[in-house]
């Protein structure tokens, strides 16, 4: 990246940040400005040299939209006052008033702020009407929805001037509304159009990302973007950010992700967002140690940033680092007690201390602060499971899945909860969903196999267990034994024998486990049936690990074999 590129990129990002701020997309604006401020600056001499030659580079780009005639200019002039007023109302959280002020305005910005205010107002009202987190009404017939949406959709669809299709921001709003209306195909297309026009709207990328249900869906759009986006440097940067985030969210780990990270880090070396992505990728790879180190670094470089720290607390929870988690909880509380992230951290801490009620209380608080808090729903579900409250757990997981259907833990949790309730058809489906999100996790396949087994579909079950076996890095004796017994159910004694033998042989590769003992016992029994008493004796007498039943039976078998041999 040379100096011109630096100035070019940073001014484009800044201009878009300012525009997004005017449109009240605060998060997107914040993200862009953080990016600008974390860019790798060329050396001062270089900068000075370039600036002397081309001082216009330093100028804040003026908005290029110039109305074609005086009439429009006049109109725009008067509308600007109203737009500013509406924006202030919006910032003061008087959403309806903001929409009302702009009732008769026609410029795209006015339309945008008006409709966005209506959207936020409807959302707020929806929240007020609902009965709190997991309240009485949520599970009953009431299904709250944003009542302003039909009006917004209609206004956007009947927009008179040709603005809709050429205005990325209006398109973005349209897409958001469509997604809220559960019309995801159309919504994605609209967001795609918006982003092709203007890829600097980070909020829009995030909305698109949230609508994907599977990685394959995301890849389709990624390739579409590759074709459609302009080839300019700054456009590619945005696409890189998106690709990186997509890969992270869908637990992908490939060369691509690492090279993307490297490219971006070179341009934005101290961008906390990138560092957090790095940490999250490590966490997704179950590389907790690395993730911990990365998070520690973020805490040092950007100490007051609370985003993603709830994930950090998850890591500490899994690693059972009580004291560090406790420190993190105190630290976060000091920064801002009433951030959903803080509440999740504190809840994690209580959960580690087995104070599940308190943990639930904090999760509820997190959700009150932000209903769409991704992890809180799932984690709360786990807490309810601990408290053996399956129905509440199911409800929590369901909400988790509703807000973010990419969370495999929630799907898995749903499966588990339904398994407890003996509704295996349901849990099968949920495990499948979890599995489609994390196909390389053997626990998923095991769970599915288990479900099939319970449902009496032994063949399917075997397939699943075999799949699980395939993807496990270390040969899992438990799986081997399981498959063996299933083949026995299928009356395929030969295959059973093979699996049992494989399982038993792992004793030499790894260590002796209950499963190897069981396999050995089975083999002993098999040999006894075949009359190979010496083998029987050898196997049975060797069993010294496992519960008392196994050992009892092994002893009996050994005794019998001994007798036979003696005879």
């Amino acid at each position: 990246m040379n100096v011109e590129q630096y100035f070019h990129l940073s001014s484009i990002l800044r201009q878009n940040a300012i525009l997004l701020e005017e449109l009240s997309f605060y998060q997107g604006s914040k993200w862009l400005l953080e990016a600008v401020n974390s860019m790798q600056q060329p050396s001062t001499e270089d900068q000075l040299m370039v600036v002397r030659e081309a001082p216009h580079l330093l100028k804040l780009g003026k908005e290029s939209s110039s109305p074609s005639n005086e009439e429009e200019m006049l109109l725009a002039y008067h509308e600007t006052n109203k737009i500013k007023l509406a924006k202030t109302y919006f910032d003061c959280k008087e959403y309806d008033r903001a929409a009302h002020v702009l009732k008769d305005c026609h410029s795209w910005k006015a339309t945008f702020i008006k409709l966005y205010s209506m959207y936020i107002s409807g959302d707020k009202r929806k929240e007020e009407e609902s009965d709190g987190i997991l309240g009485q009404n949520n599970s009953n017939n009431n299904f709250y929805c944003n009542k302003n949406i039909p009006v917004i959709v209609k206004e956007l669809e009947t927009l008179e001037h040709p603005n809709l299709n050429s205005n990325s921001h209006l398109l973005c709003l349209y897409g958001i509304v469509l997604l809220e209306n559960k019309n995801s195909t159309k919504g994605q297309e609209v967001l795609f159009k918006s982003l092709v026009l203007n890829p600097f709207n980070w909020s829009c990328w995030l909305e698109l990302l949230s609508s994907f249900t599977s990685f394959s869906e995301a890849t389709v759009y990624l390739s579409k973007f590759h074709k459609a986006l302009q080839n300019a440097f700054e456009y590619k940067i945005m696409l890189l950010f998106f690709r990186l985030t997509v890969n992270q969210v869908f637990f992908q780990s490939s060369e691509e992700i690492n090279s993307d990270l490297a490219t971006l880090s070179a341009i934005f070396p101290c961008f906390s967002y990138l560092n957090a992505q790095k940490a999250l990728i490590a966490y997704n790879m179950l590389d907790y140690n690395n993730a911990e180190i990365l998070f520690d670094q973020i805490l040092l470089s950007d100490p007051l940033r609370l985003d993603d720290l709830d994930t950090y607390s998850n890591i500490l929870y899994v690693m059972e680092k009580d004291s560090k988690l406790s420190f993190l909880a105190q630290f976060a509380s000091k920064i801002d007690k009433f951030r959903p992230e803080t509440c999740c951290i504190v809840a994690n801490y209580y959960s580690l201390k087995f104070e599940h009620e308190k943990a639930i209380m904090y999760y509820k608080r997190a959700l009150t602060l932000n209903k769409n808090c991704l992890s809180a729903w799932t984690l709360m579900g786990h807490e309810f499971v601990e408290l053996k409250n399956s129905h509440a757990a199911i409800e929590s997981y369901r909400r988790a899945v509703d807000t973010n259907n990419k969370d495999f833990r929630a799907w898995y949790g749903l499966g588990q909860a339904y398994e407890v309730l003996d509704m295996h058809l349901y849990s099968l489906y949920y495990y499948q969903r979890a599995c489609s999100l994390k196909p390389l996790d053997k626990r998923m396949w095991q769970a599915i196999g288990n479900c099939y087994e319970k449902l009496g579909e032994t063949k399917e079950s075997v397939k699943c267990y075999q799949k699980a076996l395939k993807i496990s890095t270390v040969v899992d004796t438990q799986l081997l034994y399981k498959i063996g017994t299933l083949y026995e159910v299928l009356n395929d004694i030969k295959t059973t024998y093979n699996y049992m033998k494989l399982c038993f042989e792992e004793e030499y590769n790894q260590e002796v486990t209950e499963d190897t003992s069981k396999a050995k016992l089975w083999l002993a029994r098999y040999e006894s049936q075949q009359g190979n008493w010496s083998f029987t004796y050898k196997l049975a007498s060797d069993i010294s690990y496992g519960n008392s039943n196994i050992i009892e039976e092994a002893r009996a078998l050994a005794r019998e074999a001994r007798l036979k041999l003696d005879r």
Binding site: S139, N141, F143, N183, L425, Y429, Q432, S436, L440, Y499
Partner: protein, 634 residues
């Protein structure tokens, strides 16, 4: 004769308070000439013969009548007034200034002096205006004034006010004596004579008499005759707006007939304005484009933009188009000028109900109750308020009160019937709707509602019959077409049903309707297509439905069913989940979900998943595959 309306002529002085001490407001242009009957055409009875001479040239209000009177020389030459004429003038001024006692006293004296039927008429007029209907009737009754049509007319009016229907009919006569009698009108030579200098002839008394007859029949519950009489009245003289208004507000005519009537009415060439105005009163459903055209003309050429009656007509159209928001704003502009515009209120109240504006309904009802405690619209308003807060019993009481005050008031009857329909008491609802059918033969709505009731009772035959009746009156209402489609659907005539729904959709588009109606049309279309096996089309329609309202679990359940049939198990499961998240106790959805899940177990998307994973696994364990393969071979 009595053209009591001040608007009658721009030439006439109008009674305004600051109009000089010499109140000249005798608006009663009494130009007997307008009268097409013998009684008035004879100079002897001319009411103005008395006082026109006195008028100075400037005040021309009698000018009009001057010609009429035909009274030779009366207005042109200055002849000393006779005693009777002086008294007549006195009587008139007194009446105009509402000095009823004076008018009564002097009128009595004039009558005694002249014993002229005309003077009797004017004395009775005084009584009538005072509200002494009985006295007026007693004065006019009897043989002596029998010949005077105007006396008869006033007598009839008094009897109507006294609610003596039989006697009134006796006086007015059962039939129009001038009907078919071409001579009558021709006999009055005034048209021939004065046509040039006399263009405004007031309202023909013949028409007024017909109107009275209609009014009487209406109150005797003989609606057919009433309708005929009103028609006769309008046809006799288009200026008899009173009769026209009755025909329209009471829905005596079907929309088609209304337009035919408008064509039949004999408007003078110069009266395009009136024709246009009348056309705005007609049912908008049948000729909405024509209506818009006329409205535009009225605004542009006649400078009537913003006139409240035009606004009301516009609001009516908007209401038909279900654009309740806009309709409400129009109604509110009207009500800003006239807070209790009783023409507008029923529409306004319906709008408020449609928009679920309970709070405003509450306020309006209270205001009405404060200022017009005995008006039927007040009770209608209260009834609507109660129905909007779902207190059905209370609302029924108030609707029935309203119908008692105004037995011919359609909205109250319909509301009354609705209260039964809401509670599912079909029998009672049906009997109430039937009353409405009887009262408003030209309206298709009661038939439609009846059809809907029978449909709910699963009586397809009767429902079909009533809806067809409704269709005969008006075949353009999308709601009606939609209901008919439903009947076909239930009968299993799917293609017919689809045709109906499509027609309904088309009409809705034509009317630019904007409402939940689309919701039901689209979902019906979707269901039909589902049954016809056009799953993809059905799904598209359901998408349309979802755009309008996304929180109906039935839609999702149906979509789930379709996905199941299309063997898209995964989508079926997802959709059914949404259905169940909206209404968790929906048995159909949960059964479907169970089915989908068990299908998922056998076929599911496991195949697809397997391929996916195989690819991934290969990528992950590039080297270590061999040993894994070994297992599989076992």
């Amino acid at each position: 004769m009595m053209t009591i309306s001040p608007s009658m002529s721009h030439k006439r002085a109008v009674l305004t308070p600051n109009n000089s001490s010499k109140v000249t407001g005798r608006p009663m242009g009494n130009n007997g000439g307008s009268v097409s009957n013998k009684a008035f055409s004879t100079p002897k009875f001319d009411p103005n013969n008395g006082f026109n001479p006195e008028i100075d040239e400037g005040v021309s209000f009698l000018g009009t009548s001057g010609g009429v009177a035909g009274a030779p020389g009366v207005s042109t030459t200055k002849k000393p007034l006779s005693l009777a004429d002086k008294l007549r003038l006195w009587r008139h001024d007194a009446l105009m200034q509402h000095h009823y006692n004076t008018a009564q006293y002097i009128g009595d004296k004039v009558l005694s002096i002249t014993n002229d039927p005309n003077d009797a008429f004017w004395l009775a007029q005084v009584h009538y205006q005072q509200g002494s209907f009985l006295t007026a009737r007693n004065l006019l009754r009897g043989d002596q004034f029998e010949d005077s049509l105007s006396c008869k007319y006033l007598c009839g009016l008094c009897l109507i006010a006294l609610e003596e229907w039989d006697e009134a009919l006796d006086v007015v006569g059962e039939f129009n004596p001038y009907k078919m009698d071409e001579d009558v009108t021709d006999a009055v030579d005034f048209e021939d004579v004065d046509i040039d200098n006399y263009t405004d002839g007031g309202i023909k008394l013949e028409a007024s008499m017909c109107y009275l007859r209609g009014k009487i029949y209406m109150n005797m519950n003989n609606f057919d005759r009433a309708k005929d009489c009103f028609r006769e009245a309008v046809l006799a003289d288009f200026k008899c707006y009173e009769a026209f208004d009755e025909l329209i507000t009471n829905n005596y005519l079907s929309p088609q007939d209304e337009w035919e009537l408008l064509e039949q009415i004999n408007f003078d060439q110069a009266d395009e304005l009136v024709k246009l105005l009348y056309s705005t009163r007609l049912n908008k459903l049948a000729h909405s484009s024509k209506f818009l055209e006329n409205e535009q003309k009225l605004q542009d050429e006649y400078n009537l933009k913003g006139n409240n009656d035009l606004n009301l007509a516009k609001a009516e159209l908007l209401f038909l188009q279900c654009k309740f928001d806009t309709c409400l704003t129009v109604c509110e502009t009207i009500l800003k000028d006239n807070q209790f515009s009783f023409n507008t209120l029923p529409l306004y109240l319906s709008c408020l109900y449609e928009l679920d504006a309970k709070n405003k309904l509450f306020l309006v009802s209270h205001q009405l109750a404060e200022y017009h405690p005995n008006h039927y619209i007040t009770w209608l308003s209260i009834g609507i308020y109660y129905i909007s807060i779902k207190k059905i019993n209370e609302s029924r009481i108030f609707f029935s009160k309203s119908t008692m005050l105004a037995p011919n008031f359609a909205p109250a009857w319909i509301g009354f019937a609705h209260t039964f329909a809401i509670e599912g008491e079909h029998e009672q609802a049906i009997s109430a709707y039937s009353t409405a059918v009887r009262l408003f033969p030209g309206s298709y709505l009661p038939y439609l509602f009846l059809g809907m009731q029978y449909l709910q009772m699963n009586n397809l035959t009767l429902a079909y019959e009533y809806l067809s009746n409704s269709m005969l009156i008006c075949d353009r209402d999308p709601l009606l077409l939609n209901e008919l489609g439903i009947i076909y659907y239930h009968r299993g005539e799917l293609s017919k049903a689809e045709h109906m729904f499509n027609r309904s959709l088309e009409q809705a588009h034509n009317l630019k309707i904007d409402s939940k109606l689309y919701y039901s049309i689209y979902s019906n279309l979707a269901h039909v297509n589902r049954k016809l096996g056009n799953f993809q089309t059905a799904l598209e329609y359901f998408e349309n439905v979802r755009k309008i309202d996304s929180k109906d679990s039935n839609i999702y359940a149906s979509m789930g069913l379709i996905y199941l049939k299309m063997n898209k198990i995964d989508q079926a499961i997802q959709t059914l989940h949404i259905a169940l998240s909206i209404s968790p106790n929906d048995t159909i959805s949960s059964e479907l979900l169970n089915k989908a899940l068990s299908l998922n177990m056998t076929i599911g998307y496991e195949n697809l998943l397997n391929q996916d994973v195989d690819a991934l696994v290969r990528r992950l364990h590039e080297g270590s595959d061999e040993e894994d393969e070994g297992f599989a071979d076992d």
